[in-house]
C-alpha cells in the first residue's frame, strides 16, 4: 500500500479582493439594490464556489469581480490592481491581463477550431509566444483535448466544449478564473469532469478560481463555499474542515480525491510536479 506524502504547500496569496461592493440598478422608484455590501477575498490555490438562489446577486457579483460591471460603491483589486476610476477600456485591460472566464453557454467561436479558440484568447491577451498553435495545443492537452484540437465547436460534446473554454480561459495564465455556472449545461459525468478540471486548475499557487453555481454536485470539489442571498454574503464554509483540523490539510485530501477522479475520467491531463 502506497502512502501519499503531501509537500509543504506554498502560502496562498490574495488574488482578488472586494470591499463593500454595492450595486444598484435603475434610479428613483425603479431602483433595485442587487448587492448590499459584499466583502470577499479570492486566494491563490483555491477553488471557491459562490452559491445562492436565483436573484441573489451571484451573476452581478461575478460581473463586478470580472471587471465587466462597475460597482455603485466599493473597491475592487484584481491581482493587486485597483479598478477604482477605470473606464470601460481600463477595466477591459484589467480583464485582459488578469481574468479568464468560463461561461455557462461555453461561448466558443463557432467558426474557429478548438486550437484557434485558444489562440484567439492569446491574441486578445496580447500574449507573446514562440509557436502559437503548439502553445494552444499544449493548453488543450492540459485539459485532455489535444486529440480534438482541429475540431470545430459544433463537432464537440458539451463537456468537450467546456474543457476547450477552460483551456481558453487559461491561455495567457491569468491570475483569476471566473466560471459562470460551468456545469449547468452538462450531464452528471461531464459536470464532474469539468469540476475536477477546475479543481486541478485551482491548484496553481498563482491562481484563484471562483465558480458561480447552484449545482450541488459541485460541492465536493470546492475548497471554499460562499453563500449569497438577497445581495448579502450569508455564510462561508470549507467542506470537510472540522474544528480540530487545518483547512489546508482537508482541502488537500479532498483535492487529491478530485485529482483521482479527473484521472479516472480522462487520464490525459498533463501534470506538472512542484517540489
Amino acid at each position: 500500500m502506497s502512502v501519499m506524502v503531501e509537500a509543504a504547500k506554498p502560502p496562498s496569496k490574495v488574488m482578488l479582493e472586494a470591499k463593500g461592493i454595492v450595486k444598484v440598478f435603475g434610479t428613483g422608484a425603479g431602483e433595485v439594490k442587487v448587492l448590499k455590501g459584499i466583502d470577499l477575498q479570492l486566494r491563490s490555490g483555491e477553488l471557491t464556489l459562490l452559491m445562492g438562489p436565483s436573484g441573489s446577486g451571484k451573476t452581478t457579483l461575478l460581473s463586478i469581480l470580472g471587471c465587466i460591471l462597475t460597482p455603485t460603491e466599493g473597491d475592487l483589486e484584481v491581482a493587486g490592481n485597483s479598478t477604482e476610476g477605470l473606464d470601460a477600456e481600463g477595466l477591459a485591460d484589467v480583464r485582459r491581463k488578469n481574468v479568464g472566464f468560463v461561461f455557462q453557454g461555453y461561448n466558443l467561436f463557432p467558426t474557429m477550431t478548438a486550437t484557434e479558440n485558444v489562440m484567439l484568447a492569446l491574441d486578445v491577451r496580447s500574449a507573446l509566444v514562440v509557436d502559437a498553435p503548439a502553445h494552444a495545443v499544449g493548453a488543450l492537452d492540459a485539459v485532455g483535448l489535444a486529440h480534438r484540437a482541429t475540431a470545430f465547436p459544433s463537432k464537440l460534446s458539451g463537456g468537450e466544449k467546456q474543457r476547450v473554454a477552460i483551456a481558453r480561459a487559461l491561455a495567457g495564465s491569468p491570475s483569476v478564473i471566473l466560471a459562470d455556472e460551468p456545469t449547468a449545461a452538462l450531464d452528471a459525468e461531464n459536470g464532474r469532469a469539468v469540476m475536477a478540471l477546475l479543481s486541478e486548475v485551482a491548484k496553481d499557487p498563482n491562481r484563484a478560481v471562483l465558480a458561480v453555481t447552484h449545482d450541488h454536485r459541485t460541492i465536493p470539489y470546492a475548497d471554499r463555499i460562499i453563500r449569497i442571498e438577497d445581495g448579502y454574503i450569508v455564510g462561508e464554509e470549507r467542506p470537510g474542515e472540522t474544528p480540530d483540523q487545518g483547512s489546508k490539510t482537508h482541502a488537500g485530501k479532498r483535492r487529491r480525491s478530485g485529482t483521482n477522479k479527473t484521472k479516472a475520467l480522462g487520464g490525459r491531463y498533463r501534470i506538472r510536479r512542484h517540489d
Binding site: F103, D123, V130, H274
Partner: protein, 398 residues
C-alpha cells in the same frame, strides 16, 4: 509534492525561437465572412454591382473626354485660331479667310496648318442620308490626318474624290469596304481608306479627306478654313505670339491647345449635361454599394454579436473588435473589387467595336480600388456603431 495542471507549456520563449504576438483578428474576420455564404454572396453582389456601375460610368466619362478631344490630341500645334465663340472642335463654322498668311508673317511662328471641318450630308449608296463631320486636312505636311488605318493608305487618298471612313460607322454610312461610293453634298466620293476606332462623341461619323477636296465638297474658297493650327518657332514666347496674333486677327479667338481641349470637353460634358449624368450614375453606384454593404455587414455583425460580446468579456479592447469588423469589410471590398473589375473589363471588351467608348486606365483602376475600400469602410460604420453598444455582461447565464 504538489500536483498541478500544466497550463503554460509550451511557455513563451521555449524552443529557442523568439516570442511573438499571436494574430487572429484577420482569421476571425475571414471565418465570420465565409461562415455565412448567403450573406457573403449578397455583400459581394452589392460591391460587384457598385464596382461595375462606377467603372462603366467613369470609363464612359474618360471615353467621352477622349472622343471629344480626339482630333485635338491627334494634331500637333501650339495655338489654334478659331472662329469667335467656338464651343468645341465638333461645333465648327468658318474663319473669315486668309488667316494662314497673317499667321505665317507673325514673328515667332514656324508653321501654320489649315483645317476645314464642317457638317455635310452623306447620301448612302443604298439610299438615305446621314449627317457626317467632314474633316479636310493636309495629308502630306499636316499633323492631322487619318490614323489607325486598317485598309488602304494615305497615298490612296491622293486620288480624286476619295475619303477615309471609320469601320465603326459602316452601318451608319451604308458602306462596307474600300471602293464603295457615296455622295457628300451631292458630289460623289469613294472610300479609299478605312480607319478603326476613331469614334465621335456626337455620334456623327468623321469623314476624312484632303484639304482641297473638303473645300470643294463644302463649297468654300481656297483661302477659307475652319481652324488654323499654329506651331511656334523654337524659343518663341507663346504669350507674346498669342498677343501678336490677337492684335492682327480681330473677331477670331486665339487659344492654346490645352485651352481649346478644355473648352471642348467642358462644353460637351458639362454644358450639355452629358458628363453630369455620367458622374451622377457613378455616384449612384457608390451609394447603392454603400447601402447594400452596410446592410449586410450590419446583419452579419448582429449575427455575431454574442461573439463580439465574448471578445469584449475576454478583455479585447474596443479597437480589436472594430478591427475585426473593418477587416471583414476590407476582405469583402478586395474580393468584390476583383470580381467587379473582371466583369467591367469584359463589358469594356464587349463594347470595343461599338460607337460607345468605355476606357479603363491604370489610374481609374486604382481610383476604383480606393473607392471600393472607402465604400466598405463607410459601410462598416453602422456595424461598428452597433458593436459599441454591446454589453459584455450579457455573456453570462445565457
Amino acid at each position: 509534492m504538489q500536483a498541478n495542471i500544466d497550463t503554460t507549456a509550451p511557455l513563451a520563449g521555449e524552443g529557442g525561437g523568439k516570442p511573438k504576438p499571436v494574430k487572429m483578428a484577420a482569421k476571425l474576420a475571414y471565418r465570420n465572412l465565409f461562415h455565412d455564404r448567403l450573406s457573403l454572396t449578397v455583400t459581394l453582389v452589392g460591391i460587384v454591382f457598385s464596382v461595375v456601375l462606377v467603372a462603366v460610368q467613369c470609363g464612359l466619362y474618360i471615353g467621352a473626354e477622349r472622343m471629344i478631344a480626339v482630333m485635338l490630341d491627334q494634331s500637333d500645334g501650339d495655338l489654334w485660331i478659331v472662329p469667335y465663340g467656338t464651343k468645341s472642335f465638333d461645333d465648327p463654322t468658318f474663319l473669315m479667310g486668309h488667316e494662314k498668311y497673317a499667321v505665317l508673317s507673325t514673328p515667332g511662328v514656324e508653321d501654320a496648318e489649315e483645317l476645314v471641318v464642317n457638317f455635310s450630308a452623306w447620301r448612302k449608296p443604298g439610299g438615305g442620308t446621314t449627317t457626317v463631320l467632314l474633316v479636310g486636312s493636309d495629308h502630306v505636311e499636316g499633323s492631322l490626318k487619318p490614323w489607325n488605318i486598317v485598309e488602304g493608305s494615305l497615298n490612296d487618298l491622293r486620288a480624286p474624290s476619295t475619303v477615309a471612313v471609320d469601320d465603326t460607322y459602316f452601318v451608319d454610312l451604308g458602306v462596307t469596304k474600300i471602293g464603295d461610293t457615296a455622295e457628300v453634298n451631292n458630289m460623289r466620293v469613294k472610300v479609299a481608306a478605312v480607319t478603326h476606332g476613331i469614334r465621335s462623341f456626337t455620334t456623327l461619323p468623321y469623314v476624312f479627306t484632303s484639304l482641297a477636296r473638303a473645300r470643294t465638297l463644302l463649297g468654300t474658297s481656297a483661302n477659307q478654313a475652319s481652324y488654323t493650327l499654329v506651331r511656334l518657332a523654337p524659343g518663341a514666347d507663346p504669350k507674346e505670339v498669342r498677343d501678336a496674333l490677337e492684335a492682327r486677327l480681330k473677331d477670331r479667338e486665339v487659344l492654346e491647345q490645352a485651352e481649346f481641349r478644355k473648352r471642348s470637353v467642358d462644353y460637351w460634358l458639362f454644358q450639355t449635361g452629358a458628363g453630369a449624368a455620367l458622374i451622377a450614375g457613378a455616384a449612384l453606384g457608390l451609394i447603392v454599394g454603400v447601402v447594400i454593404v452596410a446592410q449586410t455587414l450590419y446583419a452579419s455583425t448582429k449575427d455575431h454579436l454574442n461573439e463580439f460580446a465574448t471578445l469584449r468579456a475576454l478583455g479585447a479592447a474596443a479597437s480589436y473588435v472594430y478591427k475585426v469588423i473593418l477587416i471583414q469589410a476590407l476582405l469583402s471590398a478586395v474580393i468584390g473589387y476583383a470580381i467587379g473589375m473582371v466583369i467591367s473589363l469584359l463589358v469594356i471588351w464587349a463594347s470595343k467595336d461599338t460607337s460607345m467608348s468605355i476606357v479603363m486606365t491604370p489610374g481609374l483602376a486604382v481610383l476604383l480600388f480606393a473607392l471600393t475600400i472607402g465604400m466598405c469602410a463607410i459601410a462598416a460604420v453602422s456595424a461598428i456603431f452597433k458593436v459599441t453598444r454591446i454589453d459584455p455582461a450579457g455573456v453570462f447565464s445565457r
